[in-house]
Symmetry: C2
Subunit: 451 residues, 2 copies
């Protein structure tokens, strides 16, 4: 079978279909988009049916639904569960997008849109790969199940109970996920480690109203002063997290692992230049790949309070806000970390200010042993398509459900990513390099046929 010719011939139709899904603004964190998220689920279900999947259903949950579909006609062959997600991140600041985030646009061989790579584009490739094999060979080389959720970007609050409740239906020999990245163009990678995540929202309140800085300035607490003092206490000057006990459970970086990282030959200078930075910045004594792969971090994702308009407003704001997330590694316990940060902040509140901390998300880190044959075969499949065997990498991101999938289904997880690090995930002008769309389809076909 010449799958390259097949995918080439159907490319426009495939991209047009993907465009339909992308046009649905399925932002899972925003309650006003609840209907859109549901519509995206229905669209995925229809697309699975069109691909030849059976028993396709949209399963409601307490939050956004899970889409399931299967094709179980390969007795004696392994069962592959494809996991992906059809929800996307918010689009702010929307004014920084060159083209509207939900209007898919191809420029220079790249598809620009929210969700183009994370994860609508990558998830959709599995649907099309299976459809291709079925259309060309009338049967699949494996049994296949799809489990596509709508809450990944809000750390999958309802999927664990769905997995527990449907353990038999979802049972598989391997879980296959495309929601990670190549190292750089032409250098494929299989992710064998993901950081965990925890998040919190911090509000500082002072007076019961905004106050005039002439009448009150210097004599009353200012919520912004109290907040920036708290936030700046979270790191030391070298970018190390200054919360007591934060690094408990973080594994030492062994000489062996350090050698593995060196093999990746990551080009820090190129990254620095690409990002327009004078210098990269992070914890002393670690390379970029180490800092983002196997070291934990605490990031301010948003801070706001007081006047943001044009000109000057001499106001003392009555409240100020911060959104914080941590990436976790090794045995760091998300709940423990959240409690330590909360205690750290509580012990440093300025006189006259009141602190309100809301703990929101918790997910542990995940790792898998790359010597597993199911991972080795995946590396080989990349090799046949890209001409370079995939390396095994630790991704700094978090797919909180991965550890749960592995545990509940007692199956290894193969993270076969086709994104690139500079594709603006979660930022304006997210895009997907279509070279990896084309090669990715072939790699998935190769992998399924090799099992």
């Amino acid at each position: 079978m010449d799958y390259q010719a097949y995918f080439q011939k159907n490319r426009d139709v495939h991209l047009q279909e993907l465009g339909e899904l992308i046009r649905i603004p399925s932002i899972s964190t925003s309650s006003e988009h609840k209907g859109d998220v549901l519509n995206a689920a229905k669209w995925v279900a229809d697309s699975l049916r069109r691909a030849g999947m059976e028993n396709v259903e949209v399963y409601p949950t307490e939050g956004h639904p899970v889409v399931y579909g299967e094709h179980l006609h390969a007795p004696g062959k392994p069962t592959v569960l494809v996991y992906g997600h059809y929800d996307v991140q918010p689009v702010d600041p929307v004014e920084l997008w060159d083209t509207p985030p939900f209007e898919p646009t191809i420029r220079d061989g790249k598809l620009y849109a929210r969700g183009a790579t994370d994860d609508k584009g990558q998830m959709f490739m599995h649907v099309k790969a299976v459809e291709a094999i079925l259309s060309q060979e009338k049967e699949l080389p494996v049994n296949i199940k799809f489990c596509i959720e709508g809450e990944e970007e809000i750390t999958s609050p309802n999927l664990p109970s769905f997995l527990e409740a449907n353990q038999d239906k979802l049972a598989a020999d391997v879980v296959l996920i495309s929601d990670t990245q190549l190292l750089e163009p032409g250098k494929p990678a299989i992710c064998v480690g993901l950081r965990g995540l925890c998040s919190l929202e911090v509000t500082v309140r002072t007076a019961n109203t905004d106050l005039h800085s002439g009448t009150f300035g210097g004599g009353v607490p200012n919520a912004l002063h109290a907040l920036v003092a708290l936030l700046s206490s979270l790191h030391d000057d070298q970018g190390r997290v200054a919360v007591e006990g934060f690094y408990k459970g973080v594994p030492e970086l062994t000489a062996d692992l350090r050698k593995e990282f060196d093999k990746l030959q990551f080009n820090e200078e190129k990254l620095r230049a690409d990002l327009g930075l004078d210098t990269l910045f992070g914890e002393e004594g670690y390379s970029f790949i180490e800092r983002t792969g196997v070291r934990p971090t605490l990031e301010l994702n948003g801070v706001y309070g007081g006047f943001q308009g044009e000109g000057t407003k001499t106001v003392i704001p009555k409240e100020a806000h911060a959104k914080i997330t941590c990436r976790l590694v090794g045995d760091q316990d998300p709940q423990d970390i959240l409690d330590k940060i909360e205690a750290h902040l509580n012990s440093r509140v300025q006189p006259g200010a009141k602190l309100d901390v809301r703990q929101t998300e918790r997910a542990r880190a995940f790792t898998i042993d790359p010597s597993n044959p199911l991972l080795q075969k995946a590396a080989d499949a990349y090799g046949r398509v890209y001409g370079t065997r995939a390396l095994f990498t630790n991704d700094g991101g978090s797919i909180p459900i991965v550890a749960t999938l592995s545990r509940v289904l007692s199956a290894p997880v193969v993270m076969m990513g086709f994104g690139l690090p500079d594709e603006n995930l979660h930022a304006p002008n997210e895009h997907f390099n279509l070279e990896n769309f084309d090669k990715g389809l072939l790699t998935i076909v190769e992998y399924l046929k090799s099992l």
Copy 2:
């Protein structure tokens, strides 16, 4: 003449007229309101004409116009120049207003609206006081000139050159301003000191795009981290400004002045309770009245960067912003202070971050000797209406043009305020207690007749 009866009879008409002016959203800092600011100027001119003023004109400037009008038919009597402003502060956060900011609403004897007290309401009282005397006595006891500007809330960038260019036209024996406050209900005050002001806008930039905290977190600079570190360095733990040389030119607080402050018998406990605070907060060793009256201050008025929406967004923002104003006293030089803050920030920028500082406004502090007979007569006028002679106070606010008016016109400035400290100047639900509208009209009439 029974002016009390006159004002009582005309009260509804006066408040209705004031409502017309308040409905014009003359926010001088916002370019989109330029037309509204002009309309407010025209409205003030019409109202001066109706009051019997002559040679009324709306004088264009490089920014918003100045309204002038005069009545010069009292030979041998002093000439009073009434200064006021028809522009107002922005209204954000607009969702915290109980009634729309430009829809004047009377509740519990208080007029709620942006500009109700600062300064449309207070400025308007002078127009009505003069109109009252003319209508009742067919002549004024003094020569009077009105100079009402539209840029007070943006520190009067164009009025100084207007004053210089029209020195003869504006020449006066005393400048009369109502844009300050009583000490508390029933306790009138004449302001003999105003703090100066300087302002700046700070932007920190890092990468050329927002970045995903999974892929990049821990390995790149975060604009918010760099910003909160800078901002928190501006104060020490006791609320004292930590910029080197900031307190140069700040006069020592003498035992005599401290005794004057004690006379005011300011109720800190009541203020604390009214504001819903656990404790007031400010520079060690000073009372609230001292901190806000004769001590300088540096306030964060707005801070923002990154994600502000619902839920979580794991983004590393590429830029972050702060708006800062200082209140200055004594001989502090606004330009010198701005330069010192900029140098302080520049010396502390985190690796990988770029700092952009924009200096915006500069105004020196102002003081006048309360023994001046023109001020003593004003205190007496209050005494006849309120039953309590006015005390002389230092107001923490800034009316940057006051020092300029005094210098260019070589005339003492009488700041006869009728606001109250809790009337939410520059904040949501600004209001004006109409008891002081009624008494203020009488006080102005008493004062003009006493000259």
